[in-house]
């Protein structure tokens, strides 16, 4: 089990590194296409950085508000608070802020930048359908997201996808308007002039740029799928009782209700994918699965059974 956890962590870092490379590549291509229009690149990077910083600082509040989460008072939700306090002692984490979402569909998520600013939100449906042991399994999964800094990684992933998208968009538009060709006429492919490998590179770069947001999204999803499995495992490491989470996941799997107050933007945060998961069969299933934010429930349950 510990091997699995380390392997997962390593893969996640590889993927995050891949993200960095992609961002760098996109910036380089934009710079090339603009033909030394460094001011444009600087503006683009500054713009992207500014939006990222804002998104980074406000992401938890936004996620909570989007899901219509309200603070859960300790008197009213004693069981919820007691379980989280116990798990925090087990893991050495500070107690996160606790929220509840008035929704019959059982689901939960964690958000925040670090353990000190973290928050956990659960639906009223989860509190109603799960018994103490199962709720403990789910909350341990959420606290693992906090402990492993998944909450930070998913926030960063989202903002990086945003950065790639923004840069690519900017690059494509500037190229279209022809701003990038003013200084380097040998770059010009407009008149059909043969300008050698540079032109080929330019066209290639243009294509890459157009595809980069898609690649970024797929990578983000892949990062998240690893993280869900890892959180399942380290959650069990906290409770030392796999059957609790197994039975909770089985309940989530058998439940067909979907959380209302959710969106594509927050889909990857929840313990169970809030949108309907793609069918395992069909021609496009392989392709569609690349966009799933969570590994199939059956896979997660099977992995926990092996412990």
């Amino acid at each position: 089990m510990y091997d699995q956890v380390t392997a997962n962590k390593r893969r996640s870092w590889l993927l995050v590194g891949g993200f960095g490379l992609l961002v760098g590549l996109v910036i380089a291509i934009v710079a090339l296409l603009l033909g030394g229009g460094w001011i444009g690149v600087v503006v683009a990077v500054a713009l992207a950085a500014a939006t990222s910083v804002v998104a980074y600082w406000r992401s938890d509040a936004v996620a909570l508000r989007m899901s219509r989460a309200v603070p859960a008072p300790a008197e009213e939700y004693a069981r919820y608070h007691n379980i989280v306090e116990g798990l925090c002692i087990a893991s050495g984490l500070p107690k996160p802020r606790l929220y509840v979402i008035d929704d019959p569909a059982p689901n939960a998520f964690a958000t925040g930048r670090n353990p000190r600013t973290a928050a956990v939100a659960v639906t009223s449906g989860l509190l109603d359908t799960m018994n103490r042991i199962e709720l403990e399994g789910v909350l341990a999964h959420e606290l693992s997201h906090i402990k492993n800094y998944d909450i930070l990684v998913s926030t960063l992933a989202v903002t990086m996808v945003g950065v790639v998208g923004l840069l690519a968009d900017l690059g494509v538009r500037l190229r279209w308007w022809g701003l990038g060709r003013t200084r380097h006429h040998d770059f010009d492919v407009h008149h059909g002039g043969n300008s050698g490998p540079l032109a080929v590179f330019s066209v290639l770069g243009f294509g890459l740029l157009a595809l980069s947001p898609l690649a970024a999204t797929i990578m983000q999803r892949a990062v998240n799928r690893r993280r869900e499995t890892l959180a399942d495992l380290s959650g069990v490491e906290m409770t030392r009782y796999p059957p609790g989470l197994i039975s909770a996941l089985e309940k989530l799997r058998d439940d067909s209700t979907v959380v209302h107050a959710t969106s594509r933007a927050t889909a990857h945060l929840w313990i169970e994918q809030p949108s309907a998961q793609t069918e395992p069969e069909g021609k496009l299933s392989r392709w569609n699965r690349m966009f799933d934010t969570h590994p199939p429930m059956e896979e997660r349950i099977a992995l926990l059974r092996e412990l």
Binding site: A78, R79, H81, N82, G86, L87, A90, G92
Partner: protein, 184 residues
């Protein structure tokens, strides 16, 4: 010549940085162990404080169940007066057992079961039992990490030099190895 000198200086500086980081890591782990041990006591005390309230509440509905109520009080007092880990563990087991039969009483007294104060206390005590178990788990996990660091190379050199000694695990005896969770 200067290159050799620079390399040596860099190496010494790196070694120094490593030693400082390693030493600080050991200190912080040792403090965490102290904190974890204190945390167990905090939770045990919380349980001692909750029990009289629970007994008072139950008395209002099932005052003639003297035997069960007395058993809980006796176990609690034994726990407070216990000295040494072995005696302590034994007393804790007695408390858990006595509480179990006290909670079982609620099945025979629907009024008691419906009492909000009772269900609140039951939740608090169940939560506290969980916290005690988790506090012990965290203590043992921390001791494991600390002992591993002290024993493994190269941090063991530093640990020996500054007299970091190994810590003992919290050992549950065979009886208390079972779940501490109250079942109901």
């Amino acid at each position: 010549m200067t290159i050799v000198l620079i390399v040596i200086v860099v190496l010494v500086v790196l070694l120094g940085i490593y030693a400082i980081a390693s030493y600080n890591g050991l200190v912080s782990l040792r403090n965490r162990i102290e904190n974890a041990w204190a945390q167990i006591d905090v939770q045990l005390k919380r349980r001692y404080d909750l029990i009289p309230n629970l007994v008072e509440t139950v008395k209002g509905y099932a005052s003639h169940e003297r035997e069960t109520l007395d058993a809980v009080i006796t176990a609690r007092n034994a726990g407070i007066n216990a000295s040494g880990p072995a005696e302590q563990a034994q007393a804790e087991n007695a408390i858990t057992g006595a509480l179990k039969s006290l909670f079982a009483l609620s099945e025979a007294y629907p009024d008691l079961k419906a009492n909000q104060n009772f269900s609140q206390l039951q939740e608090e005590l169940t939560g506290t039992e969980g916290r005690i178990a988790y506090a012990r788990q965290f203590y043992n996990d921390t001791v494991y990490r600390y002992n591993t660091k002290i024993q493994s190379f190269p941090s063991n050199v530093l640990a020996n030099a500054f007299k970091f000694s190994e810590r003992e695990y919290f050992q549950a005896d065979d009886e208390s190895r079972g779940p501490t969770q109250v079942s109901f």
